[in-house]
């Protein structure tokens, strides 16, 4: 198979998948005897990236591999394809998601402890259905509560390559320091 045919197959697969494909997933499209090595595939992906540099779609690398996505600056027009404005997520959902992203693996009651309020089942369900969150295991305490973690899909959907791309949490002053301040304040 010549490189042009190979490139067409990769291109077709990425568009047909409609999601990111890893190099391994691309390799798996070929019979073992004709499987291109990862370096050749990477080279063809670089080629494709260049081919699409001036087009309405672009090749992007995200957490779980490469995908074609619509160029950001045509987004405002393209979003008119869908009548309803894309929904905004509730603060409760976003806070729950933030806690899972930064504190994973974490149980529901640990989330509730920090938020100071119960986490609704609907929110957990939405996060699981959206495939942003998965049950990574169970905590070995009475009731064996589920431990939640974020998924690759979450990273993909927010255009992140890894969790490290999320900004660091605001610093928190430690208790001894706070206590000292308070001490000083109350003795003034």
């Amino acid at each position: 198979m010549n490189p042009d045919e190979l490139k067409q197959i990769i291109e077709g697969a990425l568009f047909a998948a409609g999601r990111a494909l890893s190099i391994e997933q691309i390799q798996a499209l070929f019979e073992e005897a004709y499987r291109p090595d990862s370096a050749s595939i990477k080279a063809l992906l670089d080629d494709l990236y260049a081919d699409y540099s001036e087009r309405g779609v672009e090749l992007r690398q995200v957490a779980s591999g490469w995908r074609f996505q619509v160029r950001h600056d045509v987004g405002p027009w393209v979003s008119k394809l869908w009548d309803e404005r894309p929904q905004r997520y509730s603060r409760a959902l976003l806070e729950t998601l933030a806690l899972i992203a930064y504190r994973q693996p974490i149980t529901r009651s640990e989330i509730e402890d920090i938020r100071g309020v119960a986490v609704s089942t609907a929110i957990v369900k939405t996060l699981l259905e959206r495939e942003w969150v998965r049950v990574a295991g169970h905590k070995e305490v009475p009731g064996r509560p589920a431990l939640f973690a974020t998924t690759r899909h979450f990273l993909d959907d927010f255009n992140l390559k890894s969790l490290a791309d999320l900004p660091a949490l605001a610093s928190i002053r430690d208790l001894a320091e706070i206590a000292a301040d308070l001490e000083a304040a109350t003795h003034e």
């Binding site: 997520y89 100071g116 309020v117 928190i172 208790l175 706070i178 308070l182």
Partner: protein
């Protein structure tokens, strides 16, 4: 209950409730119990619902109060905040909302912190000062606030399907031939072992190595006979196979005769012997593929 409490319902009543309806009164106006919010209340109930929905819980409400007052989070005047907090809680309660237990718990906690601050602190013996009761509240507020910020940040990220779109094209209408499962001989033998152990074959179904090649030969002969009416007997033997092969073929033919599967015909004494498969009136009707036995060909997995 603090004296500054803002709603009539929560202020200590001068008189004990006089009728059961008083128990559900949200206010007493000129001695009359009000059990329903007047429709022309200047804060419509819907607005209160919105107000309650604005806060993600007691910590969020506290953060709002602290910020609204522009207060240093590290130096919360607990008494003042407690009063304000309870005032909000009372407004919610007056509007007949089911108050989330978390809000009431927070009110109780604030009250506890306030009372502990009022009490003189015992001098420490070992030099370890008792932790300020506000410290835990501050820690939780700080902890909550950083995740609140993180949530806002996530909301500001561009999100697939809202801010950007993955490109896809119609998949080719190519139907992939389904790969049949692979079977290892080992699996086949294990299956056989199961049958053998179930149906005690040791007596009636013993099959030896020799008879297996004879069985194969029986199948081959049947196949050869399937197309034609008569096949000369001698054609069923292959000389190149040698003596053993001829014997196997012969035994296979005898077994086929015994099982009634073939006929051997000789027109006259000394004439050529012919063999044919027994043919009935109709072909193939015995392969009945219409039954509804529920045994599956595939495992559901």
């Amino acid at each position: 209950m603090p004296a500054e409490s803002m709603t009539a319902a929560e202020s200590p009543s001068q008189t004990a409730p006089e009728s059961p309806s008083d128990l559900f009164a949200i206010a007493r106006v000129n001695g009359e119990s009000i059990t329903q919010l007047p429709d022309d209340l200047y804060i419509p109930p819907d607005a209160l619902r919105v107000f309650l929905d604005t806060f993600e819980g007691p910590l969020d409400l506290l953060l709002y109060l602290i910020r609204a007052q522009n207060l240093d989070i590290l130096n919360i005047p607990v008494a003042k905040i407690t009063h304000q907090y309870l005032a909000y809680v009372n407004v919610m309660q007056a509007a007949n909302f089911d108050l989330a237990a978390e809000y009431l718990l927070m009110a109780a906690w604030l009250g506890e912190i306030k009372s502990r601050l009022l009490l003189p602190r015992p001098a420490s013996i070992d030099g370890d000062d008792e932790l300020d009761p506000r410290a835990e509240l501050i820690r939780r507020l700080q902890e909550y606030e950083r995740f609140k910020q993180a949530a806002e940040h996530i909301d500001s990220l561009s999100c697939e399907g809202r801010d950007f779109f993955v490109a896809h094209a119609q998949a080719p209408d190519y139907q992939r031939p389904v790969e049949p499962p692979r079977v290892e001989l080992r699996e086949l033998l294990l299956a056989l072992q199961d049958v053998l152990s179930r149906a005690d074959l040791s007596v009636s179904h013993t099959v030896s190595r020799e008879s297996l090649s004879m069985r194969e030969r029986m199948s081959l002969i049947l196949e050869r006979l399937s197309g034609q009416r008569f096949v000369p007997f001698v054609q069923l033997f292959t000389v190149e196979e040698g003596r053993l092969g001829v014997v196997v073929s012969f035994m296979a033919i005898l077994e086929l005769v015994k099982e009634g599967l073939i006929d051997i015909v000789q027109a006259d004494a000394g004439a050529d012997i012919h063999v044919r498969a027994r043919v009935g009136e109709a072909q193939g009707q015995a392969l009945d593929l219409d039954d509804t036995s529920d045994e599956r060909a595939f495992d559901e997995s």
